[in-house]
């Protein structure tokens, strides 16, 4: 005789519990944590290189890199004198909270003002996993096409910030910034949309100003609660 047990539990409850623990830890250390998500090759690491270089005066940054294989990305960040830990997922298409806990144990990343988590290059799976971050950032390069926000809406609807990257290549590709702005707004009216080029440095100031403003906000609210 078969029996039915009512469960009614979140499938990812264990992972969500870990994310809550991480969020508390980051609140205590006063660290702004940013989960960066994009397709492979959209320029996440280049954006991070420009970012940590710009923030280095006056702020301590740390980076967790997620990739299927190789230490390449972490090496690029370490070359700038910034502590970085490489998570190798061995085939998995996203990072989860357990891997962030492990990374914090394995490398001396905290205390830090900013912790950047560069997720595995993928616009789908990383969207579903909470890493204890303050907000998600989507990076969309102009070479990917301006229809990406409609084809992969979940990440663009959830990301508090979308960075349109490689805008120095705009003259060479069919990518309509106004159309993308409109599409992004229809998915996520409250999102901040920035434009950047890691090559020319355009837009990096505005992005770093946003980060430092969010850090100030977070520390103010952590103190008041």
């Amino acid at each position: 005789m078969s029996r039915v047990v009512t469960v009614r539990r979140r499938a990812l409850e264990a992972s969500e519990e870990r994310a809550r623990g991480l969020r508390e830890r980051f609140a205590q250390s006063g660290t702004l944590v940013v989960n960066i998500i994009s397709s492979p090759g959209s320029g996440k690491t280049s954006l991070l290189e420009a970012t940590v270089t710009r923030l280095a005066a006056g702020h301590r940054c740390a980076v967790i890199e997620g990739d299927v294989a190789t230490e390449r990305d972490a090496d690029r960040i370490r070359a700038l004198g910034v502590p970085a830990h490489q998570v190798l997922t061995g085939g998995a298409c996203h990072l989860d909270a357990r891997q962030i806990e492990t990374a914090l144990g394995a490398a001396r990343l905290l205390p830090a003002d900013f912790l950047f988590i560069e997720n595995v290059g993928n616009l789908i799976c990383p969207t579903a996993y909470d890493l204890g971050e303050d907000f998600k950032v989507a990076v969309l390069s102009v070479t990917e096409g301006d229809d990406k926000p409609f084809k992969y809406p979940a990440i663009f609807a959830r990301a508090a910030v979308t960075v349109i990257s490689k805008i120095d290549l705009l003259p060479h590709v069919p990518f309509d910034l106004a159309v993308v702005d409109e599409r992004l707004r229809s998915l996520n009216p409250s999102a901040t949309i920035l434009r950047s080029s890691a090559t020319t440095g355009e837009g990096i100031d505005a992005w770093c100003e946003l980060l430092t403003a969010r850090l100030t906000e977070k520390r103010r609210s952590c103190v008041s609660t």
Binding site: R3, T6, V7, R8, R10, A11, H94, S186, L187
Partner: protein
């Protein structure tokens, strides 16, 4: 695949609390905004349970659409499944979007082991609503 593994963990916990047994089927609520493709999840479930005590069990998806409501025009009609529209197509006001982010194990159907000893897992808490089917 990792979502299927987590579902298996939650289900095994729930069954263990009622003695032990072999899972026949599980029902999972998937919201349309959860970024989970039902067919792929069913496939991943088969792969995850293969070769184990719950091999051959099935995963049933209860699809949960999101509700999109405009404060001026009311419910948004004729919406494409999976549409992420956050702005009313008629008046342009931001929509109130609720639900659709479900990723929940609803219930598990299992066959108790005749010779199973009850080895209750400590700590876990499933609703105690077991019944015969």
């Amino acid at each position: 695949m990792s979502i299927a593994l987590e579902i298996q963990r939650v289900c095994s916990d729930a069954v263990r609390q009622h003695g032990a047994g072999r899972i026949g089927s599980v029902r999972v609520a998937i919201g349309e905004l959860a970024a989970v493709e039902p067919e792929l999840l069913r496939f991943a479930w088969e792969a995850v349970v293969a070769g184990g005590p719950h091999a051959g069990s099935s995963l049933e998806v209860v699809w949960c659409p999101a509700n999109q409501r405009c404060s001026r025009c009311g419910e948004v009609k004729d919406r494409a499944t999976g549409s992420w529209l956050r702005i009313c197509p008629d008046c342009g006001l931001p929509l109130d979007v609720t639900g659709g982010d479900e990723l929940d194990v609803l219930d598990v159907t299992f066959t108790p082991d005749a010779e199973a000893q009850s080895d209750d897992a400590a700590g876990a808490s499933a609703d105690d609503a077991a019944g015969d089917r």
